[in-house]
Amino acid sequence: MTEPSSPLVARDITLGYGRSSIIDGLNVSIPAGSVTTIIGPNGCGKSTLLRGFGRLLRTREGEILLHGAPIDGMRTRDIARRVAILPQAPSAPEGLTVAELVSRGRHPHQSWARQWSSDDEAEIGAALALTGMTHLAGRPIDELSGGQRQRAWIAMTLAQGTEILLLDEPTTYLDLAHAVDVLDLVDRLNDELGRTVLMVLHDLNLAARYSDRIIVMKEGRVVTVGTPQETITVEMLREVFGLSATVMIDDESGAPTVIPHSTRRATRIPVD
């Protein structure tokens, strides 16, 4: 299971909140330089797993290895220089501007003396430009639309300049065109800068299009891991999501495309 080229490996991990365990004895490894997407129904533990990988949640048992070393004993700052995580529902204080938010991404690289180096400035500028947020840099976050806000947070995560990106639902709130823009950006970061990406997506068609690997989760367990073609199947949709659907192969990309069967609408008597 553990490949030598896996920057992130979960070995028999147990994660939970309070007294209850959400994930129990899970094993998975993330290949270097890949785009991996976790899919699964609401509440199955996708965010919990991602938070475990970013050590926002400590493992109760088992261990998470970052380039072979257990993250449990690492300094928070050393992790932050290598792994950036975009939580599912982050919140910014009222009045914080986009530029101020994005500049926070440089925190792990700064020190008491060095708080606005030319590197910081270049990376912040690039993060804003790549997410299409430059023209909104001076605007307070609370005055933006949901999608603009989402892109500002993505920009902050990018400004952190890490080799590994953990993104929890980066495309919620985004219209389809912007969702595609963000995923194209993820693809560029992966392809041109060699970033390893692990993300959670709900849109199975986008997940199929943009991922090298899919991790399918249900009730805190990993059901299957594989390429989109191997994992996104009629059987998986029925078993994991309880969804009856047709899966077609898109001619252009070769990615599976899910067409859900309308259970009600199709049988409705048309109103005239």
């Binding site: 050393d78 982050p90 204080p93 009045g95 501007t97 500049s103 925190h107 804003l128 790549l130």
Partner: protein, 366 residues
């Protein structure tokens, strides 16, 4: 590793915040900061206002000294009577006022930023009241010695403040601290501590009770150099300690998860920052009693004049000093009979708190 800039070379530099003057990079060798001209202007204005208010405070009283001879006296000149009046009678009061204001403004800015809640200030959440009970215990037991004033009262205030803070935090804790529950618990504990104070006063002898009552409204009346030193040392030590930890504040403002993701040790940083805030509050209470609402109001004014997302620390501290010094001046001179400074700050702070609660409610309802 390749950087983002390789994908977007020569990306434009982020625009400045609207109306805040253009931020500029300031770089000397490996030292770098983002320089905010407007904040610097506000800082200079506040220092000027503070110097003026302190000067007037030193010059004013039953034996008036011309304002222009105050600098002379402070630099070692002036006539003997002026020197005695200013340096022995008035300077302790003015200096303690400035320091207490700095301590309270700074403490309030820290707690408001760490808890991400403007109402979460040491004076509203019972920390000042706790320090008050601690100090009062020593005063009522009798502490008319130098050791009592310099050591026992500050120590008891610190203990009281810490106990109150731990109590509020523990009772509000439920797998994390929710802002609203923190406020409700804080206000409840504050009420209990105020009741405890009244009960202690009822049991005290008349002379001590009178002294204690004035002290409890927050007063700079009759302060001497003995009360000055503990606050000075505390402000010095705690500010030195804060120089390192305050760097985590910009990340903590984004919430626990985001701060941890940015490499901040959230639990440890928050604890140290809150201990600094409690310590500063307790020492200011030991010197001048619980001067109401300064820790709450000063950072909020600082927030509004700078247009920042969280109260800037230095400006909040200076604002606190201006507020206490000016309020004391008003309490001493403008009012028909001299009143403790705490009455004036409470008269300013109370309505402001009500305004903020109404506004928060509206926002939550909308």
């Amino acid at each position: 590793m390749k950087t983002l800039s390789e994908l977007a070379p020569r990306a434009p530099v982020p625009e400045p915040r609207d109306g805040a003057g253009s931020p500029r990079p300031l770089r000397i060798g490996s030292f770098s900061r983002l320089w905010l001209p407007r904040r610097a202007v506000i800082l200079v204005v506040l220092v000027a206002v503070l110097l003026l208010a302190a000067g007037i405070s030193l010059a004013t009283g039953d034996y008036p000294v011309p304002l222009f001879s105050v600098p002379d006296v402070l630099l070692g000149g002036g006539d003997p009577l002026d020197r005695f009046t200013i340096l022995q009678l008035r300077a302790p009061r003015t200096a303690i006022g400035v320091l207490v204001g700095v301590a309270l403004g700074f403490a309030g800015a820290l707690t408001q930023t760490v808890t991400r809640n403007p109402i979460a200030s040491p004076d509203i959440l019972g920390v000042s009241a706790g320090a008050g009970v601690g100090a009062l215990t020593v005063i009522v037991l009798g502490s008319n010695t130098i050791v009592g004033t310099v050591v026992a009262v500050p120590a008891a205030a610190l203990a009281g403040g810490l106990i109150a803070a731990v109590l509020v935090y523990t009772l509000a804790w439920r797998g994390g601290v929710d802002g609203f529950r923190l406020i409700l618990v804080g206000i409840a504990i504050n009420a209990v501590l105020v009741a405890l104070t009244t009960w202690m006063l009822a049991g005290a002898r008349i002379a001590q009770a009178t002294e204690a009552t004035v002290w409890l409204t927050g007063s700079l009346e009759g302060r001497t150099w003995e009360q000055f030193w503990p606050v000075t040392v505390a402000v010095g030590l705690f500010s030195a300690l804060s120089i390192v930890v305050v760097r985590s504040l910009p990340a903590l403002m984004l919430g626990d998860d985001s701060a941890a993701a940015l490499g901040v040790r959230v639990g440890a940083s928050k604890t140290v920052l809150l201990i600094i805030a409690v310590g500063l509050t307790a020492f200011s209470v030991s010197a001048a009693g619980p001067i109401g609402f300064v820790a709450f109001v000063a950072p909020q004014i600082a927030l509004r004049v700078t247009g920042a997302a969280a109260p800037p620390l230095l400006i909040s501290a200076l604002m606190g000093a201006c507020l206490v010094t000016a309020s004391d001046l008003i309490a001493r001179t403008l009012l028909p009979s001299p009143l403790p400074v705490g009455i004036v700050t409470t008269a300013i702070g109370g309505p402001f708190l009500i305004y903020l609660i109404i506004r928060t409610n509206r926002r939550a309802a909308a």
